[in-house]
Point group: C2
Chain length 222, copies 2
DNA sequence: TTATTTTTGTTGTAAAAACAACAGAAATAT
DNA sequence: ATATTTCTGTTGTTTTTACAACAAAAATAA
């Protein structure tokens, strides 16, 4: 456990917390580290989630299975990101998504509720934590609205251009490395992969973008 | 100002706060009430928002204009709902949405930052408030994911059925009154109104649903 | 009440998407 | 190095959608 402290300290969720505090806090939260294999599912649609999961290593995607078996990728998460905040915050709500490991992963797990009922330092810890949770959730909220923006566009072309220019705006550069392969990007934008590939080719031909694998260059600021 | 206290007290954002506390708190936050006319815009895409807006009366919709001029409705908000939480939480972020009054509206406005820097009771107030903000944001988060679920469906039919059954699940009844007219529902689901009307007719003919104006009945539990 | 405006439903047509099937390229395993 | 698997791009066909134009119904104003 202690060997992960350095990693844990860097996570936004524990921002502003001193080393000693962190130590007490993790004990108080009954925190433990669990390792997952690629493909493992951290939690499923329909499960009630009362833990917070902090990714220490690996890649996790938040997905949803449609009634007809199509996969929808909501977002991808990486070390320092945490999962389950909104579920924990709303208490006893069934998860409406799956959290799936895309690679072997290392995850810090702790129970958000336990502390508030058992431990004396509850208030102290909670206040610091909740402040961080609020910040993280607000960012996530903005990201979700951005995703809605991306997938709300009418045509495949518009979805691609909106997605790429949004990414470009965020990174403040017109050279973008996306975390998706083609199939995953299609699942993220809710479009057909082959139709998307076709549209990407057209955009390249027209000189609007260039790309190789998952590296894209936006030629114009659309 | 005082005449609105009863309304203000009922809002989730001030849950668990006593009357005297509320009084001090609102002073501390420099809160004031502003009335808007139908069609007024509370804030626009691109503006930096540092206030929290609590709706006391009226209807406000969170919208986005696409590059091509299409309106996208993200969500509709009503008395007791608050606006701007995620923007305030992320600090100095440009709003990526418009907040538009759909009717004459009454809104409590307060500056979230001001308190933390000026007032002595900052911690006390903030801790209570942030706890509430966290809860509200987590609910909103779940709603946004649900919206993503609705609009991610492949066909117009699937979007309609998913939306209606999600609403049905939430209200735990198969009789639903939706807050949208046809054009607004189309803008919410990002589809063409006439194509949607046509699909609704088909669903009615097939006996899957029934409806009149904005009241819907789900015949089967799809 | 009647006139006017707004909302909703219907239809045909053109555009776009999904789907399927496959070929070539790239990555991985042997 | 070669074989095998995975990923990406291309094409034709079918399905679905958007769009436009209009009719019917409902709501609102005069």
């Amino acid at each position: 456990m202690e060997k992960y402290y350095q990693k844990i300290k860097n996570a936004p969720i524990f921002y502003g917390i001193t080393d000693e505090e962190l130590d007490r806090m993790l004990k108080c939260f009954r925190a433990y580290v669990k390792s997952y294999k690629s493909g493992d599912i951290i939690f499923r649609q329909g499960e009630i989630v009362s833990n917070i999961y902090l990714i220490l290593d690996g890649e996790v995607s938040i997905e949803k299975d449609s009634y007809w078996g199509r996969r929808m990728i909501i977002q991808k998460l990486y070390p320092n990101n945490s999962i389950g905040l909104s579920l924990v915050g709303s208490k006893n709500v069934e998860s409406n998504v799956n959290a799936v490991c895309n690679s072997d992963a290392l995850v810090l797990i702790f129970n958000y509720e336990k502390c508030s009922t058992i431990c004396h330092n509850a208030c102290l810890h909670h206040n610091v934590l909740i402040r961080n949770l609020f910040k993280i959730l607000s960012k996530e909220n903005i990201q979700l609205v951005e995703k809605i923006d991306n997938i709300s566009q009418k045509t495949i072309r518009d979805k691609l251009l909106t997605y790429l220019s949004n990414e470009s705006l965020k990174s403040k550069t017109n050279i973008i490395e996306i975390p998706f392969n083609r199939q995953e990007l299609a699942d993220y934008l809710n479009i057909d992969r082959s139709a998307m590939s076709f549209e990407l080719s057209k955009l390249k031909q027209e000189g609007l973008i260039n790309y190789k694998k998952n590296k894209f260059v936006l030629k114009t600021n659309i």
